[in-house]
């Protein structure tokens, strides 16, 4: 019974929205507490694009989710019920996205993901109103797996924290690597000491290391790795080698290969514009999250040129067409509303005093996601 009622309620809300000329966008992201740096970059990237467009008929409401799922839900409720937003975006973390996205799309709102894109939402749980502008969570890990294969590594040691994104990570790596492993370890989420894992790596006879340890965990691991005397090629997804994190890791990260669908040296005109505008406005180099935020805003703006969100079908079609200049160059949506894009391998380098990345190879061309077939939208 309730689904029908809900949809009816949603269409009423949608009708009410047409009365207003203005489009409202709710940006929910992490601005305080641990992980705030990611949310701040997301917000800054998004607002940079909005400023450049200079449209005064679009209002962006920014709120801090404190990285707490219940707070994110509360803010989403507020934005939907009280601010009457048409579009939601901005969440960094998969667990927060899982808390907000299904309920928001069930109420007929559009959700554009600037980062988190968990497997459920790409497969069985896909939704016509949910678009991931960033990637599907597994993509960057898959790139590392493909790279490991192409480099001819035969015994990588792989590790990730023991939580859903960690499991997806190792699965993504294995999907494109496909060979034998020296070891597979799940660490504790939030773990700060990796001495035990490093000892295991040394004893395992591995020829390379793949790890996914977001945030402070990655910093800890890299510092301890650099001091362990182990000298193996290291791979990972871009998250642990992002602009903000690299400065805290220092030399320990130099030379690490990481899978990414964006880099500041990516030779695309839109990217050059973005990087210089971001540096000029905020006085620092943009990160991956800033790039996703920027692309998301531009995608949304391109669709708003075609249709009002109130006209859901037309707006959806305009989003799906993805007629915007992505900083990533080639960009289109697959049937499950997740991107088809090239994924690269970057290497950590030092430019003057700043640690940053440069692209060294293309790992996978035109990658979609592993869960397309599970999605009922075809």
């Amino acid at each position: 019974m309730s689904v029908k009622t809900l949809l009816a309620a949603a269409s009423l809300v949608a009708m009410a929205a047409t009365a207003q000329a203005e489009v409202k966008v709710g940006l929910i992201t992490t601005l305080s507490g641990g992980g705030a740096s990611l949310g701040i970059d997301t917000r800054d990237g998004f607002l940079l694009a909005m400023d450049a467009a200079g449209r005064d008929d679009v209002e962006v409401i920014v709120e801090d989710d404190q990285r707490k799922p219940d707070v994110a839900v509360q803010i989403a409720d507020k934005m939907i019920q009280s601010d009457k937003v048409d579009i939601l975006t901005g969440i960094v973390w998969s667990n927060l996205a899982m808390a907000v996205v299904p309920a928001a799309t069930a109420q007929g709102k559009f959700y554009l993901s600037t980062n988190a894109a968990p497997a459920q939402l790409a497969g069985k749980g896909c939704n016509p109103n949910y678009f991931s502008v960033s990637y599907q969570n597994d993509n960057l890990h898959e790139a590392a797996g493909a790279f490991a294969k192409s480099e001819g590594y035969s015994k990588p040691f792989i590790m990730a924290p023991n939580y859903p994104a960690g499991h997806d990570s190792l699965n993504g790596f294995k999907r494109f690597y496909g060979g034998e492993l020296a070891g597979e370890v799940f660490t504790q989420l939030g773990q700060t000491d990796y001495a035990a894992e490093l000892a295991q790596i040394r004893a395992s006879g591995a020829d390379s290391i793949f790890f996914f340890l977001p945030g402070g965990m990655g910093i800890s691991f890299l510092k301890q790795y650099a001091d362990s005397g182990i000298e193996l090629p290291v791979m990972g997804p871009a998250f642990s080698f992002d602009q903000a994190i690299l400065q805290a890791v220092g030399d320990a990260a130099l030379g690490v290969k990481n899978g990414s669908n964006w880099s500041k040296d990516l030779d695309v005109p839109a990217n050059a514009t973005f990087v210089s505008a971001f540096e000029e406005k905020y006085g620092r180099l943009p990160s991956l999250y800033a790039a996703y935020g920027y692309d998301t805003a531009n995608l949304m703006l391109s669709a708003l040129d075609e249709a009002e969100p109130a006209d859901a079908d037309a707006f959806r079609a305009a989003l799906k067409a993805a007629e915007f200049d992505s900083v990533r160059g080639k960009f289109s949506f697959d049937t499950n509303n997740h991107p088809i894009q090239d994924i690269y391998i970057r290497e950590v380098i030092k430019e003057g005093d700043i640690y940053t990345n440069k692209i060294v190879a293309t790992a996978i061309e035109d990658r979609s996601s592993a869960y397309v077939a599970d999605c009922p939208m075809q």
């Binding site: 740096s37 000892a199 910093i219 510092k223 805290a248």
Partner: protein, 306 residues
Amino acid sequence: MSPILLAEQVLNGLQSGVMLFLMAAGLTLIFGVMGLINLAHGSLYMVGAFAAATVAGLTGSFLLALVAALAAAAAAGALVELLVIRRLYAKDHLDQVLATFALILIFSEGTRWLFGSFPLYLDIPEALSGTVTLPGGIAYPAYRLALIGVGVAVALGLWWLNARTRLGIRIRAGENDREMIAALGVDIGKLYTLVFALGAALAGLAGALVGAIQSVQVGMGEPVLILAFVVIVIGGIGSIKGALIGALLVGLTDTLGGVLLPELFKLFTDPASAAASGSAFASMAIYILMAAVLIWRPTGLFGART
């Protein structure tokens, strides 16, 4: 698993135990003397790490960074004691919990306000980088060996302080009878500030030492704080010896549990799910240890019997 690898893991367990001891010793000292439960002890750990990272960034000297960490944490501790904590001694544990919980919020957000949300950089000193080869062919990071050394030195120093110095006598007297020590003509207010600053300095030292091989960021103190609680519950509140034994037990259980449980599960299931479920149970190992100790000895291994 080879004996050499096992030996290395035992060493790792000892090293993490020794660092936990620095935290737990301060907590248990403060509780023993002043009867205060301090949730904000983890914040002092963070203060130490941030001070060290800042000074290391400015001067490039790790030694100066350590000195700064000790000084900053001790000063923050003394300041907090003078402004807030001393008003809590006469209050019940509930008020102490709430007030020190409030201090966590102030310290965490205040630090973020001053330093921003991005993690800071702090590296180990050049002289201690790289590994040393131990008997049996274990290549072990020199810095971690140094950490074990520092921990042992602090343990010995605390023992010496407690058993051989005037301050130690006063501390022990304070644990037994507060009125008695006031009657002896000791300025109890000063003693309390001193003890609190000492505990804070130990936490700050731990933060700086560990910060060099981990991530220096806001919120780094709370997970360590909770582990330190487990340590002193196991060791017995108020007992430095208990804190040492408890810290080593927790360090070893945590490290070896994380390594051995997934191996154990591999006997029953495929490697990927063994790694996952083994790790899930390993995360509970120290708490199960704590529960077992409580069933056996409700006041911890070296706690006062009631």
